[in-house]
């Protein structure tokens, strides 16, 4: 597959944008349901940062793919098969342990990605990344704090964390998959091939899990397909809810 310079960069950017949007949406679903007021505020904070990152990335994608689409066109007018986020971000919130584990796994990946993107040959991506590094450092710290507390808290919280890890760990393999798009983006200096981020991600995550008295699960199952628009069933419901109002009033201004 040859995508051309702009093609690969556009798809590469869109993948990152969809990751941010979908994870933001999932976190926003916690509003008024978090275990403490402080965490209600923190989860919304993270969701807002991710939404801001998504919006910046959609704006850049629209320039790279030259379709002239708006951020809302990307978010509300694409069908499930056109979303290219990874499967991990679309996983349902579950209990607070599941959300915490998902956040640790995602934020650690995203932080490594943003750090690398600060030196992108695409100046706009580099600028988005510079701001996102600060935000995502906080996201990872928040997830780390909760991983430690829940892993090394009570017997119940430890058990819930183990269950969450068992559920989510298989989805981490997809984060580091390399393909024609990521290879081309890497050659062009647009951004790192995710494969190269694995050592750093693995080092941080295993250290935190160890400190939290949790064991890294083994999994032979490595679900994949998100980057090709092949998603999990719950994702369709998420999009249906997110898109229905926008689609009910085509072309209007909100």
């Amino acid at each position: 597959m040859t995508l051309g310079v702009a093609g690969a960069a556009a798809v590469y950017t869109l993948r990152a944008a969809d990751d941010c949007l979908v994870l933001s949406h999932r976190l926003a679903q916690w509003s008024s349901w978090a275990p403490t007021l402080e965490d209600d505020i923190a989860l919304t904070n993270i969701a807002l940062d991710l939404l801001g990152q998504a919006r910046g990335l959609y704006a850049r994608t629209a320039e790279l793919d030259a379709t002239g689409r708006s951020e809302d066109d990307y978010a509300f007018l694409r069908d499930e098969r056109e979303f290219v986020n990874c499967l991990l971000v679309e996983q349902e919130n579950g209990d607070f342990a599941t959300t915490t584990v998902r956040q640790l796994l995602c934020s650690t990946f995203q932080l490594a990605l943003w750090q690398s993107l600060t030196t992108s040959t695409d100046e706009q991506l580099a600028a988005i990344a510079a701001k996102a590094v600060t935000e995502t450092t906080y996201h990872r710290d928040h997830a780390t704090d909760w991983t430690l507390r829940l892993g090394d808290g009570t017997a119940e919280s430890h058990e819930r964390m183990e269950a969450a890890l068992a559920t989510l760990w298989p989805y981490t393999a997809e984060l580091f998959e390399s393909d024609a798009v990521s290879q081309e983006a890497s050659i062009l200096g647009v951004g790192p091939d995710p494969e190269s981020l694995h050592p750093e991600w693995h080092g941080y995550v295993t250290r935190v899990l160890g400190d939290a008295t949790l064991v890294v699960p083994q999994s032979t199952w490595k679900p994949s397909g998100g980057r090709q628009g092949l998603h999990t069933e719950p994702f369709g419901y998420m999009l249906a809810e997110m898109q229905h109002l926008h689609r009910s009033f085509p072309g209007v201004t909100w």
Binding site: P35, I41, L51
Partner: protein
């Protein structure tokens, strides 16, 4: 820390020279701080009012949060998320202000979940369409500002200071709500109809938010003497109407009150009589969403219990790490 008994136990304050000093401070417009001596009734009354205010912020997250996952544009979604987050922040400052009076946040939250403390009855109405989000910002935040601006001069320091910050954010919410409704009202015919329907449903409950009429208000006289309340419910209601009536004209939306008109002689808008029977029913527990809101809050508390227990257990095991966090 004070026990629940001290929140609820109602003993008459005996005459006390400290009480005269206290009243003199209030009468000369000075602030009472948590360490100052204060009559028990003053303390109890403030705890009740601040807790009810905090609960209102928290329960108020539900009706608007109801639209976060369906917001029709990314820009509106970001604005709504930030707004609902602000309300959580308001709840947090207010619980902190209440804690300076010797109660504990968890104790107050339990009282809410047991139905022994109330929250603003406005949040017992459902948000049925997207326009309700704009209508709440415009009218409900508008009524909240009307209530709260005088509280910035409340005699109790921590409450007054919390209100200064809260009022700034509420004004911002009101402008955003107005702007959102304006976009709908000046959009397509369907959008305009959606905005008008929302105003039809939220107008009277917002007018009623300023409380029962002065002739029936139970706590007003004492609260005025203590410098907690500065204006009567009916005075505040008039201020609210005077603020929003001209804004409705700019919005191009018609409030559902045929008696609403400018009265040159009074220099105020005249308006119809709110249905206070309806207000009593909703306050009494029979509004459309009382049961739903209470069940939602209780479920969130119960679902989070194991998380809070884990945090406490971790803090005991690792005192240094927890102090740094």
């Amino acid at each position: 820390m004070r026990s629940k008994g001290q929140i609820e136990h109602d003993e008459t304050d005996v005459a006390d020279p400290r009480e005269l000093e206290f009243q003199a401070l209030i009468d000369s417009d000075q602030r009472i701080e948590p360490r100052d001596w204060m009559p028990d009734g003053y303390r109890k009354s403030l705890i009740r009012q601040i807790a009810q205010h905090a609960h209102s912020e928290i329960v108020g997250m539900q009706p608007e949060g109801n639209w976060i996952t369906r917001a029709p544009s990314l820009r509106r979604k970001a604005i709504l998320m930030a707004k609902v987050q602000d309300e959580a922040g308001h709840g947090l400052y207010l619980y902190c202000a209440a804690e300076t009076l010797g109660v504990d946040r968890s104790e107050l939250i339990d009282l809410l979940d047991q139905g022994r403390q109330k929250y603003s009855s406005i949040f017992n109405y459902p948000t049925l369409t997207w326009a309700d989000v704009g209508a709440i910002g415009w009218l409900v935040d508008g009524a909240a500002i009307t209530n709260q601006i005088p509280l910035c001069r409340c005699s109790f320091g921590p409450y007054a200071r919390a209100m200064v910050r809260v009022c700034k954010e509420e004004s911002f919410h009101q402008r955003q709500g107005f702007e959102s409704l304006y976009a709908l009202s000046h959009g397509t015919t369907e959008q305009h109809a959606m905005a008008q329907d929302a105003v039809n449903r939220w107008w009277w409950p917002s007018v009623e938010m300023l409380g029962p009429p002065d002739t029936e208000s139970t706590h007003s006289a004492q609260s005025m003497a203590w410098g907690i309340k500065r204006f009567s419910n009916d005075e505040l209601r008039q201020r609210f109407i005077d603020m929003v009536a001209p804004q409705a004209v700019v919005l191009g939306l018609t409030p559902p009150d045929p008696e609403l008109r400018w009265n040159e002689e009074r220099g105020h808008y005249d308006f119809g009589k709110p249905d206070f029977e309806e207000l009593r029913r909703v306050v009494g527990g029979d509004g459309p969403c009382n049961r739903q809101r209470a069940a939602h809050h209780l479920k969130a508390q119960e679902d989070g219990a194991w998380v809070r227990a884990a945090a406490a257990a971790y803090a005991t095991k690792h005192p240094a790490a927890s102090a740094a966090a």
